[in-house]
């Protein structure tokens, strides 16, 4: 893996923030509102626990095996045979999730703005752009995320500020009206997004100041938590229980923005800015897939695999679900446990095995 590129800790924090928020604000409020009702604002707060845990886990693995990303650590911690096999399984799992991500993005555009455009065209165009970004290198698209983050943040804050006259804080009540169970269920779904922070493991080898790697990850999780809290509160105060009926409440909320008589139809801006966030997320997932394949096939440079992996991702995104409703249903039920088992449980198991091996070899020495 070419180590000439370097990413600063701020860039990693920004990239991971956009990586999570790229699709979180699109789909999560609708899903958590359907599950948790009025208490959906608690779900990002409780779900952030998974984020902090997984950032700590990947940081520990990075400290044990500096210079390696997660797939490389798999092979060093679990041995060549088990490590390669599990590496292939993980990369295939990751490609599946990338396909789901790409499909969510394409369905969002096709459902709201480009009704007559074939879905594959949206997928293919984003794949091509992401391929160019991944070929350019991790440093290049880390800088992209540095440029795009303020724009996305501005969107979230502006949405909140411009909707202030229409917000009704009384929608918050009753708090915990149905008990904790719906909140726990909603939190599980949100944790499916937070545990994608695990991908930070693939960017740690590029970090040139390892000392700040933990703080960087934790700050990013805190940022995601704050952003999700603000936007969830905005949607709850605006729509109340009706949030559950929308596929994309954030987009619907932007349609309510009307300042004076001339600031209207803001949803086109929302779409443009959302494409930026989705681009960073898809590029990061794409990069991880390419780097994972390169490591599994024992090739040093991942740049060779960028276009073939792009083909696989594009085709996979058409395969993952027959339509939007099935996709949303999969994500909010079975998909949650699937994502949690791959991005949360599996890294912790790897950490446990690596730690036990360290203890065994230390005792022998």
């Amino acid at each position: 893996m070419p180590q000439k590129e370097q990413i600063t800790s701020t860039q990693i924090a920004m990239m991971m923030f956009l990586c999570i928020m790229g699709t979180a604000l699109l789909m999560l409020p609708g899903i958590t509102s359907a599950i948790s009702g009025n208490d959906m604002w608690m779900t990002p707060l409780l779900g952030s626990i998974a984020g902090y845990l997984i950032v700590w886990c990947t940081w520990r693995l990075h400290r044990m095996y500096p210079g390696d990303h997660f797939i490389g650590i798999l092979q060093k911690a679990l041995g060549p045979v088990a490590g390669t096999f599990l590496g292939i399984v993980f990369v295939l799992f990751h490609i599946h999730i990338t396909g789901i991500t790409m499909r969510s993005y394409a369905e969002f555009l096709a459902g709201n703005f480009f009704e007559r455009t074939p879905l594959f065209f949206l997928v293919a165009s984003m794949t091509l752009v992401a391929a160019i970004a991944v070929k350019a290198g991790a440093e290049a698209f880390a800088r992209c995320s540095q440029i795009f983050l303020p724009v996305v943040l501005l969107l979230i804050l502006l949405n909140f500020a411009l909707l202030l006259p229409e917000l009704k804080p009384m929608n918050l009540l009753p708090v915990l009206g149905n008990g904790m169970t719906p909140v726990v269920k909603g939190t599980l779904v949100v944790q499916g997004w937070y545990c994608q922070f695990m991908l930070i493991s693939f960017f740690y080898p590029y970090l040139h100041e390892s000392k700040r790697s933990l703080r960087v990850g934790m700050a990013s999780v805190a940022g995601v938590m704050a952003a999700m809290l603000i936007s969830n509160m905005t949607l709850l105060f605006l729509f109340g229980n009706v949030t559950a009926k929308f596929n994309y409440p954030f987009l619907m909320a932007s349609r309510y923005i009307r300042v004076g008589d001339f600031v209207e139809h803001v949803e086109a801006m929302v779409m443009m800015i959302w494409v930026l966030g989705a681009f960073v997320k898809i590029t990061a997932f794409y990069y991880v897939a390419a780097a994972g394949f390169a490591n599994v096939f024992r090739v040093n440079d991942y740049r060779l695999f960028v276009y073939p992996v792009g083909l696989v991702i594009a085709v996979m995104s058409m395969w993952v679900a027959p339509n939007m409703q099935e996709l949303a249903n999969f994500l909010s039920t079975n998909g949650t446990f699937y994502i949690l088992s791959g991005y949360l449980v599996f890294p912790f198991l790897v950490l446990a095995v690596a730690w036990l091996r360290r203890r065994a070899s230390a005792r022998r020495a």
Partner: protein, 74 residues
Amino acid sequence: MNWTKTLGAMLAVFAMLGADFRLLRRNPKAGWAYAVITVFGLALSVTLIWNPDLPGPSEWISAVYGPLGRWLKP
């Protein structure tokens, strides 16, 4: 229509090979890995062109995680 799409997929693969030609010449040993992924991608795309309703990995996962998923349903 399906033949047009199949032709399109093969054109995309040829374009890919053309773009990566120089990289492949420099690194011939990685060529087998490149071929594996490309063949897999091409085969999957052609299969999906001719049979778009093929059950996907999401269906297989739903079969495994079915009971847990039903608990989470709103």
